[in-house]
Amino acid sequence: MRPLFIFLSALMLAGPALAQTALPPAPYADRQLEDPAQEAKAMALMQTIRCLTCQSQSIADSNASMASDLRSEIRERIARGEEPEHIRAWLIERYGDWISYKPTADPILWPLWAAPLVLLGAGGVLAWSRIRHKKVRA
């Protein structure tokens, strides 16, 4: 029993051998900002910033060391009064649209934005012509 206990305690004390880096996380990587309004702003932004290491996750979800550094960077900037969209623009300037999950209004996306209107219009025309035909027959 005793050797097992010692073994288990040793296991608990051992650091993860394959960690990406030996350094502790940046100050605000996993700590919320003191001001809840600022924290909410930061969290909303972090959920729409893509992790550079785990490319299908947002930095809010990722455990990669780059993601935690970026979380801390974002929280500290928000604490200094920077606007979330300004930080997003700063990141896009460096990594391209790729880093942001928020859809842009770039020309390449115009068909996507127009699709609901086009479909609604087409449906309206279809419905209207059907109703009119029915009335005529009746």
């Binding site: 880096t21 290491t53 960077e73 460096r94 990594y95």
Partner: protein, 177 residues
Amino acid sequence: MKRSLILWVPLAAYLVFLVVASLGLTQKNQTVIQSRMIGKPVPGIDLPAASAMAPALSTKQMADGKPRLLNVFASWCVPCAAEAPQLAQLAQRGVRIDGVAIRDARPDVDAFLQRNGNPFHRIGLDARSTLQFYLGSSGVPETFVIDGKGIIRYQHIGYIGPQDIDTILTKLREAGA
């Protein structure tokens, strides 16, 4: 006649969708994120020394007329050790290499340099990936070619293999070396 033509529209739309979707599915997924900072000046940041074996690095002093490589590495990064012989070869050919150690600790960088050799002129310690974000760099190792005016000219993503040396030297020549 006109009515029967309209009946084909949904099928045509479906076929267009099918072609677009299958093209999208067969295309290779983009996993390498190119920095958008190429053609722009190196962001100026002062970093403390990362090792006892090389002085500290300030990227504000890179417009000194001499092109150089800025190598983003870390002692905990395995491919960074694998590219060490290639960096040594470049240094031997007179290329100036400045290093940035990402999320690193001085004793670890010292041990890394003792193990793999020190091709660096200066090494800055970037404990929280700050310079990396400023550079638009998305991992380690990465190597930037900086010209004499401090403008980023080229980004090599991933480790520098023996087959990459010629490209790096060409890019340095284009940058005025």
